[in-house]
């Protein structure tokens, strides 16, 4: 317990104090860190469904995009305060996932494919509903994120502080679910849904709740991102990158751990942008692919278990 509190204290101190203090002046680095946290947030939300719930989703781009559009439109057209608009973005994504509930009747790859197809519906709506979304031209001058403390609205540091808080909140939600009775039931559900029903778990309701929660979290991150970059177009907001990168991050970091998806996202994205992009300006993603394959071959549990095994060996 003490060790855990200490670890939290260190992480919180690092996140809220050292990162802005050390890198705050470097706008490029800060923007990379914020972008990596956005991916980390989606990866966490994805892992809540994919790891805890055992449902591999290829449809999180729909939640991300809908969250982004709902929040942006409410802020532009209805002058919603940004905080409220972001919450509404989360709720919008949640409502979308309610429409998606029938896919939960499918299992494994069938669920993944159905949700992938379903996600496209929303990209098409965003493209074609020109009167509302301005079609492929997209939305520009989306209001910026609010100011935090003495850092002005839309500045890198204030954006960073908002997204880091959001991600910490996700970690807490994830932990709470994973350690609760429901986390136990979700783990059991991987093996046999019938068996969990036999022990009295309302597996249908539990899966639905996970989908809703995951969608809501993804929507809020999408909303954050929209106000952060101030611009949206359908192919970006509903892009395949929001499907693939979080999955890569979650697997790379160790999707069976709570911190894994986040660490994976930050490491993968930063290494890719700072290192590989400089070496191979185009096609640098191929290295990510290779690293992912190597990781799956040599440490299927991901980066975090790999590190903990190493340290444990050293101590004994």
């Amino acid at each position: 317990m003490k060790v855990m509190l200490l670890r939290w204290a260190v992480v919180v101190l690092l996140a809220y104090f050292f990162v802005p203090w050390l890198f705050g002046a470097n706008a490029y680095l800060m923007s990379l860190i914020v972008a990596s946290l956005v991916i980390g947030g989606v990866a966490l939300a994805w892992a809540l469904l994919g790891n805890l719930g055992g449902m591999i989703s290829f449809g999180h781009s729909a939640f991300f995009g809908v969250g982004a559009y709902v929040s942006a439109l409410l802020a532009i057209n209805a002058d919603f305060p940004i905080w409220l608009a972001m919450v509404c973005g989360g709720i919008g994504a949640l409502l979308v996932s309610v429409l998606m509930l029938p896919t939960l009747r499918l299992k494994g790859p069938y669920f993944a494919i159905a949700i992938l197809a379903y996600a496209q519906i929303f990209r098409i709506i965003a493209t074609e509903w020109r009167s509302l979304t301005n079609g492929v031209a997209g939305l520009s001058s989306i209001p910026s994120l609010p100011a935090v403390l003495w850092w002005e609205s839309g500045s890198k540091i204030s954006s960073y502080l908002i997204v880091v808080t959001l991600v910490f909140a996700f970690i807490l939600v994830y932990r709470w679910v994973a350690n609760s009775h429901y986390g136990l039931a979700l783990r059991a559900m991987h093996e046999s849904e019938d068996a969990t029903r036999v022990v009295g778990v309302n597996s249908t309701l539990l899966k639905a709740a996970m989908l809703l929660l995951s969608a809501c979290m993804t929507g809020m991150i999408g909303a954050f991102n929209a106000h952060y970059i101030n611009f949206l177009e359908p192919d970006y907001a509903f892009g395949g990158v929001w499907i693939v990168i979080p999955i890569v991050a979650a697997i790379f970091g160790g999707y069976r751990t709570i911190w894994g998806p986040l660490v994976g996202a930050v490491v993968v994205y930063l290494v890719d942008q700072l290192l590989f992009k400089n070496i191979f300006p185009s096609g640098h993603q191929i290295i990510l692919g290779i690293i992912l394959v190597v990781m799956i071959l040599f440490s299927p549990g991901g980066l975090l278990p790999l590190l903990t095994v190493r340290t444990r060996k050293r101590t004994c």
Binding site: H181, L184, A185, R187, A188, H190, E191, S192, D194, A195, T196, R197, V198, V199, G200, V201, N202
Partner: protein
């Protein structure tokens, strides 16, 4: 305690149970025997709500329960120890047991029921931190039974506990079933080991091809006659 009337159930276009009626008395052990494919497991699945019956009714304490969800039935007091054990192999023995008491109303009694489970199955206490997948077949069956008891069921359905187990373990399991019977529990036991099953039972039903072919109080059962019926198809 449990009344089944004219039950029909099956999977997709295939019907398995044809007009099954039987009644289960409180505090007794009712054994259902029959060859593979007779519909014994299907009957249990229909009772606990894993399968929706097409026709007929199931009454539990005079209340219709057909069409209810499995989780509601568990709360009502019906637990099943499924065929093939269905333990959660990637979880510890203790987590498996805790899941057995999942319904909200049962969570308060977890500590007490855990202790009782370990007293009944001392081997599980030794292995409580071990992953359930590493248990032997017999231990796995004990875990499945202990998990079923965690919800303090009024009616316990046990599906082929002896499946794939060594005779010594089977004897041990039937001793435990006899103990549960002595506690006054209501048990429905589905078995292929007719000799053992009839030995522990109060009431015997024989199912053949989705129908109840024959029934009798256990003390009147002549195993030779029963075996003739069993193989008469």
């Amino acid at each position: 305690m449990l009344e089944i009337r004219n039950l029909e159930a099956g999977y997709g276009p295939i019907n398995v149970l044809w007009d099954v009626s039987l009644s289960i008395a409180e505090g007794r052990v009712t054994t259902i025997i029959g060859p593979n494919g007779a519909g014994k497991t299907t009957l249990l699945r229909a009772i606990v709500g894993l399968l929706q019956p097409r026709k007929g009714e199931i009454l539990f304490r005079d209340r219709p329960i057909h069409g209810m969800a499995p989780w509601h039935l568990l709360e009502a007091g019906i637990a099943m120890i499924p065929e093939g054990r269905m333990i959660f192999r990637d979880m510890t023995v203790e987590d498996n047991l805790i899941l057995g008491a999942f319904p909200k109303a049962r969570r308060a009694g977890v500590a007490r029921n855990l202790e009782r489970a370990y007293t009944l199955f001392p081997r599980l206490r030794e292995r409580r931190r071990q992953l359930a997948g590493t248990l032997s077949g017999g231990e796995g069956q004990m875990l499945a039974m202990a998990r079923g008891l965690m919800s303090e069921p009024q009616l316990l359905l046990i599906d082929e506990p002896s499946l794939g187990l060594a005779p010594v373990i089977v004897n041990e399991l039937f001793e435990i079933i006899a103990d549960l019977k002595a506690e006054g529990r209501t048990i429905v036991l589905v078995e292929q080991n007719t000799h053992k099953a009839v030995g522990v039972a109060d009431e015997v039903y024989l199912m053949l091809s989705g129908k109840v072919a024959w029934s009798a109080p256990a003390r009147d059962v002549d195993l030779a006659v029963l075996h003739d019926l069993y193989f008469s198809r």
